[in-house]
Symmetry: C2
Subunit: 199 residues, 2 copies
DNA sequence: GGATCATGTGAATAATAGTTCACATCAATG
DNA sequence: CATTGATGTGAACTATTATTCACATGATCC
């Protein structure tokens, strides 16, 4: 057939992207090598020219997720003044990211991660840890600036930060889009930031 | 073989319990009819005497989860005085429940729920909605008693309540037990309850 | 104690999916 | 222009698993 031959780096990128899209649409269970292949105009066996196994493909997807999370932190920090403002911007960017890629939650909570190769579990752990660390740093900076109360543990706040979004995303997902994540996160953030504000 | 014959209600209970245990140990992906059967000393085909399908078995597991969540609410409310105290007790009971049954999170976030039969998705939605509603009622009661500030939306607080635990449970899971959920939830609750307390 | 019906068994079935392999093809290299 | 190596193809293989069915068995009711 008239299928173009592309360098393996390009294909890897394509395949990882196609995999994440597929997960977003069909869930991780719907992620099959065959479907991913078809999505980029290839035949199933061709995938194995670019990845050793399906597992390796999934790892590539995880790396994509890490990059997008980190990109959000950079974006939210640009032109930053108040740490609380940065956090607010970040929480909203996070909501957008999750909404546009429901697959992320599917992967993070999946069996493939929690009961698959220990290495993959460790990878996801490091991704989330890395993200939380950056959030905690923002909190620390806010404390040094005097915008955030000093007796709040940055680590605890960073986990609470995730907690603003996670259950809301779950409800949004379960309700088929009926739950208003943005509205919830705004209200929840208002409440939380009241506590965080230095008095 | 010398396998005892038991009434279908007993078997259903046994099988659902065995299924939840299996999910806790191996994840939802590791839940096969064969394994569940072996766990109660039966042969795979025998399961179909008590459940129409694997799907129906999963639904039975979900009902178990609902009952345990509701039991926690009753327990935490017993001998209640301050609503904030009730919520604190409930959050701790919830942590214990999740820690002892990691399978609950596996199921709630699974593809089988999110991309399976719409009816199952609706069931999970109703379970969580029901739980949140009860939490919100506790908050409302606290506002009437004057223990909780009046300008906090009970619905928002109930979702935040879940948010205290969910990401912590995820980290605990990912770290293989290294993350101290109880400690985090205590600190996070302290922070949140400062905001909630009526001034 | 014998009939009966729910419960348990073992074998067979069908579908799905990851993976392998022998072969084809195209682009770059010398 | 011929060679070579990377990329793509199609068919086959294997393993897993939910499900069905004909048959066995044991408890219960008359």
């Amino acid at each position: 057939m008239g299928t173009e031959k592309l360098d393996t780096e390009v294909r890897q990128e394509q395949l990882a992207q196609a995999a994440l899209s597929l997960i977003t649409i069909q869930g991780l269970k719907g992620l099959s090598v065959a479907r991913v292949a078809r999505r980029v105009g290839l035949v199933p066996s061709a995938v194995y020219r670019h990845f050793e196994s399906k597992d390796e493909l999934l790892d590539a997807v995880l790396e994509m997720i890490r990059e997008r999370l980190n990109a959000n932190v950079v974006l939210a920090s640009q032109g930053a003044t108040d740490a609380l403002q940065v956090l607010r911007r970040l929480v909203m960017a996070h909501v957008r990211l999750i909404r546009e890629n429901e697959g992320i939650l599917s992967v993070v909570f999946s069996d493939e991660v929690h009961n698959g190769h220990p290495a993959r579990k460790a990878l996801v752990h490091s991704i989330i840890q890395g993200y939380l660390k950056k959030v905690a740093q923002i909190v620390s900076r806010g404390q040094q600036q005097g915008h955030i109360r000093a007796d709040a543990d940055p680590g605890t706040v960073s986990v609470m930060f995730l907690g603003l979004i996670q259950p809301a995303a779950l409800l949004w997902h379960l309700s088929g889009g009926g739950f208003d994540v943005t509205r919830h996160v705004e209200k929840a953030w208002d409440l939380l930031s009241k506590t965080l504000k230095a008095s």
